[in-house]
Symmetry: D2
């Protein structure tokens, strides 16, 4: 066995059931640009899973693309999106939202989460400012479920964020690049239909949850006018849309999407137990990303047995490290880690 | 057998050899964002096939995305790109080039091709105009090989276009969404290394030549500074880059890319013969897109036997129709067409 | 006397009455960013002159700025604007509309005018095209009154263009950089209130009609939401808005705007008579731009006596030349020209 | 006398010497778009005043426009600009920089200033981050002289910022909307030629220093290629460029620009003395913006005698208020304030 890799949830191929469907359907001809039968079928299944019979659903290729395309569609040209400082759109998307012309306004991150209080205070202050018309006007709130730090939102917080958005006429957009891991996490007190009722747009991430690529962008109350053309203008329209359609059709057949997520969560909880057993300090995360503090020389020794990412230095002697699980993580891999930590 | 489909070269799955490699490599973990070993390997093979050891190569997902991303990287903010009226970027990309801020300046189409004379005359007139600084300044020429109408450029024309670009300090960019079919066409008097020496950027289309998705963007003399970040800012960076890497590695192993193209060309030439035999008027095309004039009632009858696209009305009674071949086109399918036309 | 200049209507200072008001008000303090009392007063007067009590009016600095800012506000991100080939936005604005992300779709120019038939045919064809969702979708029509070639639209044509726009849910925008000269032209069969009832936005050009700078953008039925912020995001908000406000207040006091235009038209008609007298071939233009064909050696000789612009070569021996009048054109200047042509 | 206004330095007209030149030159015809003789003359004088014989100089209309246009010209498409949180481009420009596609990266404000230490630390951390290619890449530093809070930079700090920029291949851009007030401030230990040698671009603000409008953008080592066209594409090119040219020619004749600034500074220092005399708490500012803490009821009473702006609440009972001087501020106005505070 090669060194087990806990580096990310996009360092492996597709879940075997997804791949099998790609192989099975490869010989069939189909329409393209989203009009193929698998995309149609996938949309039907997602409408059912989200409890939104009238939802518009588009399959985009990746997360940054989905974020920039949706943001640009929901905002007026001078509109800004509010996100926490650690948000993916603010840090790790090369300024894609700004490249489409929109400012990202940041609020403090609370373990990756936005605080409804911060949001409300910001908006009250903003619209009370006599110079507000000279500023980029917030038109949308962006939250991530689960967050970049692996945390999830309590339903009550999302509900308040949703209410605040409606009060101030802002759209609410949920980046769900890892949505499955949030929904499957212990302590998550909402489900997909509830989420769909509380936001204007969200996406169900495929790339990080068992697919080779693909994010299903869902507009529960319908997409903005002309969104198909908008997607193409953003260079985000797949010609062979079967690639996304077949995969999402498989992911939403027999609950595969959530089964993949639950497996990864199960592995992640065992990972956490291994760290706790080993007496290590961990960050609280109920999802498939686990953060642990490793003393630097121990970290280097461990790296020769298993692969993982360093996140950020804690101090001169210790580093916060990230371990990620996925559909591909196995009990045998965890055992290698357990033994490596014991060694 | 379902009705054979000649609708497009992106209505089928991947070439079996490409698909097999996706299946074989699925279980391996890898780096992402273009740093996976398959992408590295594919780049090496493409550098060899293009005779450009120093080329920078990036794998993007689709054609519109590649066109807009490269154009925006090669132009200054006020720069414009020159293309023929029928060019894909001018007609069928939802204004993606303009969405990145750049004007498309059009010249007449000569069966899909740009005339070097037209280009030279335009540029001379442009820079002689005392008001030229008030206009969008051409900084790039965009040509398609083969063109949207299935035609190819004689080498001499490309050479002149290249020279004109160098004289006026314009970049030359080749949209190669169907590049293989151009290179494999009878009468094509240049090859990949020659092309690479005569342009600043081009891409080798995968989507339409046997892959599920993917275009290999090649900068023979090196990419513009920061192109990786630029790609991500355009939402065009694949997380699981293995998806593109594995496919292009397969396409550039044992000459598969050109073999796929040659098969499609072979089928297309038989298609042409079938039309000629049937006494139909055809457009001259040496590539995998064949255009034929069908009387409207005959067209409708034919559609019940085989699938194809109408292109544009010729007059009240006749329609120009497009038939496209690909790796998946079979002799049996051609036979269905032959018989349907005889019927 | 220096050589009289007929080069343009922006080569002189402000009309004396406009300048005097700038001097008279210079010592007063005021609000800024459009909230000064002169801007408020100017808006009231323009609402009255256009018969639009509910109009929103913004004072921008120049024409290109006004065109790009309004276009970007009225279109969705993927939206395109339809204009004739000779339109200022298509030729002489350095791609400013595209720089804001929007394609300019061109129709043939009929002496600078758009033909309602062309427009209707284009839109019918566009929306009948099964691939229209893959194209930049027209969302606005741009016409210029008077056109770049000095011509004006018959009311009946504008009415049809307006109807076509409403039928296809397009906005109608009128570039009025020289609007006064159109309204004051002999044969113009509509007035400002009629125009205001037939378009979604237009501007009343100040720069070319007696001001130092400034264009009054009028939205007869109200501006798009957040237009103030949008203007600032386009870098188009004047801090010392008094500069525009005072000038437009003067221009719309006691009918100055139309008096300036009528004077220039009167001078232009005399100019035309001088050319006719001299047996020269002229283009038909009822406005302040007159186009005349001059034999090249005669043209050069004339240039030593009066200043004017060459427009375009007619053939090897003759050139089309442009002569423009303004508030500053005098009978004495015309006399110089008359004598120069006789000489 | 109306209530004296200390609300801003753009609430009055032009300095009388500037206005007089506009009147004197009004009757002359001229070239346009920056080619008029006054613009040429103004450029010569500014080249001399900045000690940059090879400088390229463009006259734009306003500050937001200048900031967005220059930023977009100096950055690559994915490039970001670093500024302090309180920077005008980050707060009060409606997202104009982002509307041109660029992210604003913020560092803490130290009384409006950027700390060289913060900048250096940020850049070291940025380029050490293994994921930096996934982020908007800083390509420019933006500083304001004087800052939004009226403070100025010690020469040593600017020198270090300049060195850090050169080390990391970043451009340095100085927003000089109020530049004169910085140069004329007590304690400013550099002059215009020194500044010009230490940055890649800066502008000399006219709007807030005695003109009706206009900012002189200076590129000491030459402008980016095609900047004229770039300016027009941003909607920032004045047709009647005489308006800017005449004003800057006047401002740079006989040292008027600095004389205006010195008068305002003199008035501001007297303003400060008045506050100190009255026992009020003030912010330290050597420039024409003075910030003072007023108890709320006293603030309201004072507002009935003089006009000024509230800046931000200090606590429930006190407010920070801003008083601004300009060429138009008189000793008599100060006397009204002095008496009002005594009353």
């Amino acid at each position: 066995m090669d060194r087990p890799s806990f580096e990310s949830d996009y360092n492996n191929g597709a879940h075997p059931d997804v791949l099998r469907r790609l192989v099975e359907t490869n010989g069939e001809t189909s329409q393209s640009y989203g009009y193929d039968t698998w995309s149609e079928s996938a949309r039907r299944k997602i409408r059912e899973a989200t409890g939104c019979p009238q939802a518009d659903i588009y399959f985009l290729v990746g997360g940054t693309q989905a974020n920039a395309t949706v943001t640009d569609a929901l905002l007026r040209p001078y509109g800004a999106v509010i996100a926490v400082e650690t948000a993916h759109i603010n840090v790790h998307e090369s300024g894609a939202v700004e490249a489409s012309g929109h400012k990202v306004i940041t609020l403090p991150s609370h373990e990756g989460r936005m605080s409804p209080d911060d949001l409300e205070a910001y908006l009250r202050r903003f619209f009370a400012d006599p110079t507000w018309e000279h500023m980029a006007v917030p038109g949308m709130v962006y939250v991530t479920i689960p967050t970049e730090l692996g945390t999830i939102y309590p339903k009550a917080d999302l509900e308040r964020i949703c209410d605040i958005c409606r009060e101030h006429d802002l759209r609410l957009f949920v980046d769900g690049a890892r949505l499955g891991y949030g929904l499957a996490a212990e302590g998550c007190d909402f489900d997909l239909p509830w989420l769909a009722r509380h936001c204007d747009a969200f996406y169900i991430g495929g790339t990080k949850v068992g697919a080779l690529c693909g994010e299903a962008v869902v507009f529960p109350q319908g997409a903005p006018k002309g969104f198909f053309t908008h997607v193409k203008a953003h260079g985000a329209l797949l010609a062979k849309s079967r690639l996304a359609g077949v995969q999402f059709d498989a992911l939403f057949t027999d609950g595969l999407y959530l089964r993949i997520a639950r497996h990864a969560i199960d592995m992640a909880m065992q990972l956490r137990d291994i760290f706790v057993e080993a007496g290590l300090e961990i960050k609280d995360s109920p999802t498939n990303q686990q953060f642990v503090v490793l003393e630097n020389s121990r970290m280097k020794a461990l790296m020769e047995k298993v692969l993982f990412e360093t996140w950020e230095p804690v101090d001169d002697r210790n580093t916060l490290c990230r371990f990620v699980t996925s559909w591909a993580t196995t009990a045998a891999e965890l055992q290698v880690l357990r033994e490596a930590l014991r060694g």
